[in-house]
């Protein structure tokens, strides 16, 4: 077990370096010139402007030199200056990362609560209408493009029926709370502004549901399968024979054993959540790193693209590591390999 952990953790820096290298190579070896997006088409014909821009953005010199330059800067927390926002990429990411993390956390909560609820409901009412309806609801969630379900829900629940606020993290008239964690729900509480906190929660609900709905299907499938497995075990029969109430049997005896696989599957869904967050942020005008990445990719803002990819890759690697370790703890069979 411990050698497995050591091996997995030791591989992390190498994988991160590989992510950095691959991103660097893709963004430097491509046909499209970043100069177009820095200068605009008109200034491209002016050789002195081109030379100055190349100098300024470090696009001169051999590739290997540029690479070392980039690595060196990165280790000092400098991801370069965004071509578009003219800010340091690390600063931009620092401002935007909490918004994405808050959205993803809320989505995971939605997915876990919804998935477990549906899974339990469906497992205890096998092959009844509830079973089919629950499974279908979960399946639709993972088959709908998040950018479409977001659009539809925003149109009906927010614009037509005014049940939820519109896009953004807060109403357009509200000022953001003083920044402690960057999570608006927490920061508003720390500032003691409860009505603003409720506003932040309400703004989170729709995007978090849209994003979490996709993972709900996976979670409910796992919960259902392990519940059905557990409910057929002898100790459940014993518990029932002893006269334990059905409610207690399901929620205490059976669900406890179905929880761990449900939680680990959330870890495996992090990739889906990252993909979904990029798209959901577009629909809900959510100022996170997803929408930052889209803008960067559209305008060939290389420092920003690399910054997002490296941060995203790192987050993904850490999540995979934690999940695999949790999985190894939960399932002794994994430890052998």
């Amino acid at each position: 077990m411990s050698s497995y952990v050591v091996r997995r953790v030791a591989a992390m820096p190498a994988l991160l370096l590989a992510v950095v290298t691959v991103t660097f190579l893709i963004t430097r070896l491509i046909p499209a010139s970043p100069l177009t997006s820095i200068l605009g088409p008109r200034a491209l014909t002016d050789p002195s402007a081109v030379a100055a821009a190349k100098e300024h953005w470090g696009l001169n010199g051999p590739l290997i030199g540029q690479y070392w330059h980039y690595l060196d800067n990165m280790l000092h927390g400098d991801f370069g200056t965004s071509f578009v926002t003219k800010n340091n990429v690390a600063t931009d990411l620092g401002v935007r990362l909490p918004a994405t993390l808050e959205l993803m956390t809320a989505a995971i909560i939605v997915a876990v609560i919804g998935g477990i609820g549906i899974g339990v409901l469906v497992a205890t009412r096998q092959n009844k209408l509830t079973d089919h309806a629950g499974r279908f609801f979960a399946l639709v969630g993972s088959s709908t493009p998040v950018f479409w379900s977001g659009l539809v829900l925003l149109l009906f629940l927010s614009t037509r029926w005014h049940l939820f606020p519109g896009p953004g993290r807060l109403d357009s008239r509200s000022l953001p709370p003083p920044r402690y964690t960057g999570f608006f729900v927490i920061d508003t509480l720390l500032a003691g502004d409860f009505s603003l906190c409720w506003q932040a929660v309400r703004h989170l609900m729709l995007p978090a549901f849209v994003l979490g709905w996709g993972v709900m299907g996976t979670v409910s499938r796992i919960v259902r399968a392990s519940m059905l497995d557990v409910l057929n075990q002898d100790y459940i029969r014993t518990a029932r024979a002893k006269g334990v109430r059905e409610r207690t049997v399901v929620l205490k005896h059976a669900l406890r054993n179905a929880l761990l696989p449900a939680l680990t599957i959330v870890g495996f869904s992090v990739a889906f959540l990252i993909t979904g967050a990029v798209l959901v942020e577009q629909i809900f005008s959510w100022p996170g790193i997803g929408s930052y990445a889209v803008t960067a990719a559209e305008s060939l803002d290389f420092p920003a693209i690399m910054g997002v990819t490296i941060v995203g890759g790192a987050a993904f690697l850490i999540a995979s590591l934690v999940t695999d370790l949790a999985y190894a703890v939960a399932d002794p069979q994994i430890r052998l390999s």
């Binding site: 591989a11 590989a18 493009p145 599957i265 992090v270 559209e298 995203g312 690697l317």
Partner: protein
């Protein structure tokens, strides 16, 4: 545990046999898939409207003339939705075919020969899988320039390592089975061993996963088009059309057709994937990039 207990628990562990794989959802899924395939192949023959040409006033709500209304340029939304299948279906099949081919070739070689080629391949897949799919696809399409073909290349790069690892793992486990040992003892040559004794058993889970991934490819391709890195306007493509729908937010019908199209096709792929899994009776842990 007695013998009777053993058979009981074995039966419990494998409830779905070959007999009952053709369930109602699987049949529905097959019908919907076949329907989209027929539409994609024949739509130019019977579509009353040109998907690229103005055929009415802009942003007309659904009515008798235009069943799903018209978009901002007065193009028929239904015609564009149906034509959209001609972008999404071939792309999905091409990406999966490309991913499976490259993945199986490299994974097969690595699994069969082991040694340093295996080591190199595994590190390569490690690196590719370290990227969240959308970020890798975004970097690639940003670099190559937007377009469905480039998005397709990016998605093949995202998907091949999954199949390579799956096939490699399968080959490693099939290699240990008794019938392979027997074949080696009987003097079967290496290429025949691979072709006849190992590959047919090892490839099944790859094919099952490939079927299940078709829907994921459709979703990711539409997502890339939605954020402007996939199909170029004025191509009738579902993600691009939903993006139009965000601009004309109050004209809900602009995004309705493409949204339902993606939903129905992905649902159908998922149902068929479940059926194929039950038919071939393999158990693979749920995993998607």
């Amino acid at each position: 545990m007695t013998a009777v207990d053993l058979t009981l628990s074995e039966r419990r562990a494998r409830p779905a046999g070959r007999a009952n794989w053709l369930t109602v959802p699987v049949i529905l899924g097959l019908i919907v898939c076949a329907g989209w395939l027929v539409i994609a192949l024949t739509i130019p023959l019977w579509s009353p409207y040109d998907p690229l040409a103005t055929s009415g006033l802009p942003l007309l709500p659904p009515g008798a003339q235009h069943l799903l209304g018209t978009d901002a340029l007065g193009r028929d939304v239904l015609a564009r939705t149906l034509y959209g299948a001609r972008a999404s279906l071939p792309l999905a099949f091409a990406v999966i075919a490309g991913g499976v081919t490259i993945g199986c070739l490299l994974g097969g070689l690595a699994g069969f020969f082991g040694g340093w080629p295996d080591g190199i391949l595994m590190r390569l897949t490690d690196v590719t899988l370290a990227f969240p799919a959308i970020l890798l696809a975004m970097v690639m399409t940003a670099a190559l320039g937007p377009g469905l073909f480039h998005a397709g290349i990016a998605m093949v790069i995202v998907w091949w390592p999954i199949y390579a690892r799956l096939l490699r793992a399968q080959i490693l486990s099939v290699k240990e089975q008794a019938h392979v040992e027997a074949a080696v003892a009987a003097g079967v040559g290496r290429s025949r061993l691979m072709r006849v004794h190992i590959l047919p058993l090892a490839i099944t889970p790859v094919l099952v996963n490939a079927t299940m991934d078709l829907g994921q490819v459709v979703l990711l391709a539409a997502g890339l088009s939605f954020i402007g890195l996939g199909a170029n306007p004025p191509t009738p493509e579902w993600g691009l059309m939903i993006n139009d729908g965000t601009i004309h937010f109050y004209q809900w019908w602009v995004a309705l057709g493409p949204g339902l199209a993606i939903l129905s096709l992905v649902l159908a792929f998922n149902f068929v994937g479940d059926g194929v899994r039950d038919l071939l009776d393999v158990r693979t842990p749920g995993r998607s990039p």
